[in-house]
Symmetry: C2
């Protein structure tokens, strides 16, 4: 690797080099702190004498563009750099399309932009303190050894065989999913699973039915593929299947733990959904995002295990059981779309990075995932119990919890109209992070309610947080 310098002809080599280095530093292209190549190397590279290069370095050092560090080399000195951004100066043929993308709602705000507060009821965040770092580190070591043995080329587009096998066992065991290792495609979280399936199923104008309220990143993704997305209302049994429009090609549901409201889809509704989809020739995506955590009642079958027609794609993630930033998920695909989806994955990014894949496969086969889920389950059950007992207790004049059996968030609706924006604002001032369910509604009129995640809040923080919530609710009532 060489310093990028362009020398034209053999005239005034020193002058050319001086000018270029100075310009590169002034423009910020060579940033403060960067080390310049040793004079010997640059001399070789450019075919200029070493003496000339030394002189130029000395000159630039004298002008304080460079700084020498004894025994270490020559570095770019700290200076304010000019802005480098180029402005587009011609009309792009794709301007409309680019503008449309720019105008698209962002699927979720950048988490690092929203400052988090001490007691966070944010949804989707995992119990970070519980993460078994030592066991994970051991599995990553194993992953590194595996990679050391690999051939130094690309890996399997559908995922490492050992991980596909671990996943198929895991979901057979705890979710009753009927599959073989070969039906599993490893991908970068649920979002990519939805994208892969969308690619092979949707065209411009295809109708997609989603739960309303529902999971915005899914809806927005389908829309970005040019689909016409229809929000189908939900009731206490889940999606109102009879309202799925004709010509629907793809149906996206969260049967185990409706997102965001939380109720499981009833057995009758599941059966009706499968029949409706079959009649339409539609593919169903079953997003089983967090149902490894189940607290009460007897487990219901996954839709996938009830499907005898091969129309359900079961999608899961390790963002909820492990860590979102690992970006590992999977899709279990019916034969009709398996091959096409594997090809789409290849087109999209070849395959998922093998380092986290190897580590996760080991983590699962060592039983660490099961252990971790069991540990978190115990903790989440306690947190959930605290929240429910408060919602059914001193918070019951204002809030009503929606019945739910799984996951790590609870939705609660307000019994009377309330200025939710004010409530959220006041809560943040006392370090309580609350989140409205309003943004999850699409074509249906939004209800007033809260999505209360308990993955991230510490158990001991729940009561103090809900005390504060109660005080603020009392305070708002008095206004």
């Amino acid at each position: 690797m060489e310093l990028h310098v362009v020398i034209n002809g053999r005239k005034d080599l020193a002058g050319q080099l001086y000018k270029q280095l100075r310009e590169a530093i002034e423009s910020g292209r060579l940033a403060a702190g960067m080390q310049l190549p040793p004079t010997r190397l640059l001399a070789e590279q450019l075919g200029i004498s070493r003496k000339t290069i030394s002189d130029i370095y000395a000159q630039l050092t004298y002008e304080s563009f460079l700084i020498g560090r004894v025994g270490k080399g020559t570095y770019v000195n700290a200076r304010p750099s000019k802005t480098l951004r180029k402005q587009n100066a011609c009309e792009l043929a794709s301007a409309d399309r680019i503008d449309a993308w720019r105008a698209l709602q962002s699927p979720l705000p950048d988490p690092t932009l929203t400052g988090t507060v001490k007691r966070e009821f944010v949804g989707g965040a995992t119990s970070k303190g519980q993460f078994p770092h030592d066991e994970w580190r051991r599995c990553v070591q194993y992953a590194l050894r595996q990679m050391q043995r690999s051939i130094g080329f690309y890996s399997h587009c559908e995922g490492l065989p050992v991980l596909r096998s671990a996943i198929s066992q895991h979901i057979a065991f705890c979710r009753g999913v009927v599959c073989q290792d070969n039906d599993v495609v490893v991908c970068n979280g649920t979002q990519q699973a939805l994208d892969m399936i969308s690619r092979v199923v949707l065209e411009k104008g295809s109708v997609v039915a989603v739960e309303d309220p529902g999971y915005p990143p899914a809806r927005l993704l389908f829309a970005s593929h040019g689909a016409t997305v229809v929000g189908v209302p939900v009731d206490q049994e889940g999606m109102r299947v009879e309202l799925i429009p004709d010509h629907t090609r793809l149906i996206y549901v969260t049967p185990a733990h409706q997102f965001p409201l939380g109720m499981p889809m009833s057995l009758a509704r599941r059966t009706a959904l499968l029949h409706r989809a079959e009649a339409l020739g539609a593919i169903i995506i079953e997003d089983d995002y967090d149902s490894e955590f189940r607290y009460e009642g007897l487990p219901t079958d996954s839709l996938q295990s009830m499907d005898e027609r091969g129309i359900v794609a079961f999608v899961g993630t390790f963002s909820k059981t492990l860590l979102p930033e690992l970006r590992l998920g999977y899709a279990v695909l019916p034969p009709a779309i398996l091959e096409a989806v594997m090809k789409a994955k290849q087109f999209m990014d070849w395959h998922t990075s093998t380092l986290p894949q190897w580590a996760l496969a080991r983590f699962m086969s060592d039983g660490e995932l099961q252990k971790h889920i069991r540990r978190c389950h115990g903790i989440y059950a306690g947190r959930r119990e605290r929240i429910l007992s408060r919602l059914n207790g001193d918070l019951s004049p204002w809030l009503e919890a929606i019945h739910t059996t799984a996951g790590f968030h609870i939705a609660a609706l307000f019994k009377h109209p309330i200025d939710l924006k004010l409530l959220i604002e006041l809560s943040r001032k006392v370090e309580v992070g609350l989140y409205s369910i309003e943004g999850f509604y699409y074509q249906q009129a939004p209800k007033n309610g809260l999505l209360m995640g308990f993955g991230s809040i510490e158990t001991l923080d729940i009561d103090p947080a809900l005390d504060r919530l109660r005080d603020i609710l009392l305070q708002i009532d008095e206004r």
Copy 2:
């Protein structure tokens, strides 16, 4: 996490459980070797007495469905499992679209399917033996510590700030790219970079101009977005810019090291290309896939650095400098599309896995990447010299090397027609892996030639391999 068992009502609990466990094992859903939950846990879960569960386990053990391991627990016994695959039994509304995907050519064959031979001239494979595993391991340890400190939520969609900064310094230093940290989007290799840009620039029917011969995964990806892909012939100066069709919206080029032929794009052609793109309002993708390795002549500017209109997207990868299976690459985007592409990345998979991102950032900031590139550069230069001297020597009656200054492959054209399939077949028999350039041609008539990668073959293997090639060529001539 619990074993998935569905109990209906309170009648014959033991019978129901027995039947379900047996079915689950017979069908293979509970695979051989899986551990069953301790009786106490399953009893709690199902609200059945522990004694009942013990009896069922005992019965199934007696029937050899289960096996008890003293002090360890109860496991599923090894038995042949029935196939579980469901067949699709209804006509899908998206059948045509799915078929179209299925019919798409696979961008590259699965590397693990093509058996590799001892002396491989395969392109794109890196020098695995050179990979600095110890340094990389140290950086992965650092990555694990960073993740331990993270908030347990999603990370930045555009990549870790520290990695974006390391990349922008790296490409400013060695490729003269003019950018700020904020112009860089980290992604899963070049393939995802192309996909992100395609998403925001292309619509069904958009015209895309590619080099012909060129890089098939790029062409196929553009086509999968519904674009009309036009192959523009190349000559010794690169893409014949005057043949880029009207209404072209996206132009894909490899100026530093044309893929697959290897010649750099001339300065005149670069200037013409920028003017043509500006007149068309087209975005240019500059795929700079392996030009960190440069062997002769003075460096030419990257197209990106010559662009004053903000129409060039510079795309690079760590698949060539480090390891393909890491799946790490980046795009440096002009302001006109930066925001839209960042949003597309978010829709596609949120962000790239942070574990390899942290590790790479550290690897770069510690100077390990530079060191590694320098080390490989020396090795590749030697291999390249060997191949060129043979091509210009005893292989010159048959082959002519195309002039190239960078990368780690050389293309060579046959001077006379030859049965290339036979040559490749005979070579494989003597453990020499050769590859035709034919598959890289699209709309132009293919030439007879070889793509000779030297990333993976050991230096000492080159001469013996080329001896064999020569012998086979002589042998074919004699027929």
